[in-house]
Every structure is written in C-alpha cells, then in structure tokens.
Subunit: 207 residues, 2 copies
DNA sequence: CGGTTCATTGACCAACCTCAAAGTACGTGG
DNA sequence: CCACGTACTTTGAGGTTGGTCAATGAACCG
C-alpha cells in the first residue's frame, strides 16, 4: 500500500554527500525486507523514494509498528551508533528506493561534518521524545485515547493542515500502530464517529 | 527510598566543565519536584548525587515510570534540544544533588566541543534504542515477559554481575515500570518464583 | 466474474484490574 | 523494650475491558 504522506522534511543527510562517500541506492518492492530484528547494524539507511515500516512481531503473531519512514528520512541509526542489533525489522511498504551507506563512512561523515552530527543528534532526540510520548500513551491510556493520540501525530506529520485530513492507514494498520486489535479499533472509531470526534465516510477515516 | 544502583558510567559531561560554563548544583529532598510534565525545557540536568525518577500520571491516577537516573547521568535533554515541553515529570527519589545548566550554555558547549556533542548523540541513541525495546515488550508481551524483560534491564544496568542480584525496587515500583498493577506484579512474581525463574527470600526479590 | 483484501458485527471469554481486608516488616518515640 | 504508625506485601472475590473466534458484507481489481 502506498501511504500518501507529504515530504515535509528535507533529506536527513544530503544525498550527494552520501553518494560522494560511497553510498548506493537500492530498490525494494512492496514487502521486501531491508533488515530483520536481531541482525547486526552495518549501514546507515535513508529513504530516497517510497516508504519503510519498522515493526516487531511476537511468537503468537501479535504485531507492533514502531514507526514509518518516508522520503528524506533516515532509520535504524540508534543500533548503528551503539554497535547493537536491530530491535525491530524494516520492510518496504511500496516500491521504494533506499540509500545505504557503510557504517565506517557514516562515522567518518559525523566526524568530518559537525553540522551533520548536529542534525543526527536532533533526529535522535526527536526519536527519543516521540517514543517517550508514545510509551506514556500506551501505558496509561484506554483505546480511545491511544487512537486519538496517534491521529494527532498523523496530523502533525502531515503539517497540521486546516480542515479534515484523510488518514492513509487501514484499520489493521492502525491496530498495529496502537497495539490494539482490528475489532477494537473498528468499534472504538465507530463510537468516536458517533460522538463527532472523527469522521467516517465510505469507510474512509478523517480527522 | 534510596535505590542502590552502582555508578557504572562516568559523568555525562565533566562536572568542572559544566561549572566553568555557569552551572549550579541544587539540592533536592526525597520527593522534591525537579520539573513537571508540560513545562518548557530550560536547563540541562545532570545527577551529581542520588537518583531521579521521570514519570507520567494519568487523570485516573495510573502511573508510568519512564526512567531512573543515577549519579553521572543526564536527563530531560530531548525536549531541551528540540525546544519542546517535558513529556514527563521528574522528582528526586532520595536526597540528591542535581547540576543545572542554562539552555544557551548547553548549546554553546555542544558547538564548542564536538566530543561532548558526540557523547550526547550516543546517549540520545541509547535512549531511543532502549525505548524501542521497551515499547516492543509492552505492546506484544504478557505480564511475565514484561517483568522478565525489566529484570533483565536491571541486571544490565548493574553490569550483569554473576550470581543473584537483589532488585532494589518495591512491588509498587515494579508495577510503575511495567505498567501493571501491584497485585498483578505480586501474583506474577509468585508464580515465577515457584517456577524457579526468580528468587524471593524474606519478601526480597533476586534474579 | 472470481479472488483478494478490508471492514463490520455478534457472542463469548480470559486476563488483568478493582476493591476490600489482613498480614508483615520496620522505624520511632515514649 | 514495647506500642504504635507507616509502608509494603499478600490474598481473595468479583467485575470489565479488550481480545478471540466465526461469519458476513463491501470494495476493488484483473
């Protein structure tokens, strides 16, 4: 599925700089695996085109989406910086192009360009900040609040436009983001629609 | 309560450097508030002595501990770097001393000392990484697995010593860390003790 | 038209939470 | 040393929420 999310951020690291340091762009089809949970981190990744999903899956088949990444955004840096393994898997959500740079070159760029290091620092801070908020919502909130918070994040990601925004996710995808079941998402959204908190028209969700 | 956690990390930023840039050390008694949820971030904080807890509380009184910070560790940087408000409150867990540095000075240090910026970068990466793991555990796991994962984190924090490690938290505190209720923690730990997964002697927990 | 994916609904159930009560440890002050 | 207060732990009974399972309906697409 192609998630229509606007490209509101510039490239995390300038693509020409990446290529100059030996990065290569790889094509992925929908569903292709970029890396798996538990694998050692060896590359810096940056989405050039398309979208990427990071997620966990439990033994019993439960699934949790850690995050979505769109054109210009990088992903998987924390374990790369720390020399750890990936805490989640990454797959392409649609036909995508992802730039890949070897760990050594990435470290060299960070040393060479303090401004880039500062960009990555802010990105990591943003990542930690978002996750703290998500954790708070997940731990102390009911399904309605969890959905509402996720939808708010969606609006922010989309640049908080005036008027109704169509949410580009299926009920199942919303379930994976919020850690709920499809049926719970559906029932909660129906209730919220009745109460005017969201709008459902022809099965499409707006907020 | 004084949490006996070994000081295994050196100061995040050298304290003399902090003082040279105008930082001051503040004393807090047990329970004193350092900052509250929703407040604008204005300072860099680093624990000099004692321990600090960051946590969220819901309207219905549910509580979630985002993290504990001990001597040498900094906290609350993400919103400071991003110009956001605090996503959680911070309180002293015991009589503590916390070094405080104004935001401007902190930014100046980062620009002036790339090595310090790199340290903070690694810390932010570590923070994001830990939170990704925590989120995974919370979303897709049952109480036993959640507790087990938390206890594993405790062991890692303590330097993964050989033999049994006494866990320096009450049942209620474990509940706050894992998002469970006291009673659920107690019942789950009892079951785990029966199965030899943890040891309970005189109400104290070891693993 | 047939197949696939997504959305929806209802009945049922179990895990975890809630509430209430009581037991245990520990420190303090008389 | 004892009495008391406080904080922590434990147990049981019962309730609710959200998950599970099964079936059906709607949209989409080649």
């Amino acid at each position: 599925m192609a998630h229509e999310m606007p490209r509101i951020y510039p490239d995390q690291i300038n693509r020409d700089l990446l290529y100059a340091w030996g990065a290569v762009g790889n094509k992925y089809e929908k569903g292709d695996v970029i890396f798996t949970e538990g694998e050692a981190a060896k590359y810096y990744f940056q989405v050039e085109k398309g979208s990427v999903r990071m997620y966990n899956m439990s033994h019993e088949g439960k699934e949790y989406t850690q995050g979505m990444f769109y054109a210009g955004q990088s992903f998987g840096e924390p374990p790369l910086l720390l020399g750890e393994t990936y805490p989640a898997a990454a797959v392409a959500c649609e036909a995508s192009v992802v730039i890949r740079l070897a760990k050594n070159s990435f470290q060299n760029i960070l040393e060479e360009y303090p401004a880039v290091q500062r960009t990555i620092l802010d990105t990591m801070a943003r990542r930690a900040y978002q996750k703290a908020i998500t954790a708070r919502d997940m731990m102390i909130s009911n399904p309605e609040t969890r959905l509402q918070n996720f939808l708010r994040q969606c609006r922010l990601q989309a640049g908080n436009p005036p008027g109704l925004l169509q949410i580009p996710f299926t009920r199942q995808e919303l379930a994976h983001f919020t850690g709920l079941r499809v049926e719970t998402v559906i029932r909660t959204l129906s209730k919220m629609a009745e109460e005017g908190k969201v709008v459902i028209r022809e099965r499409k969700l707006y907020c």
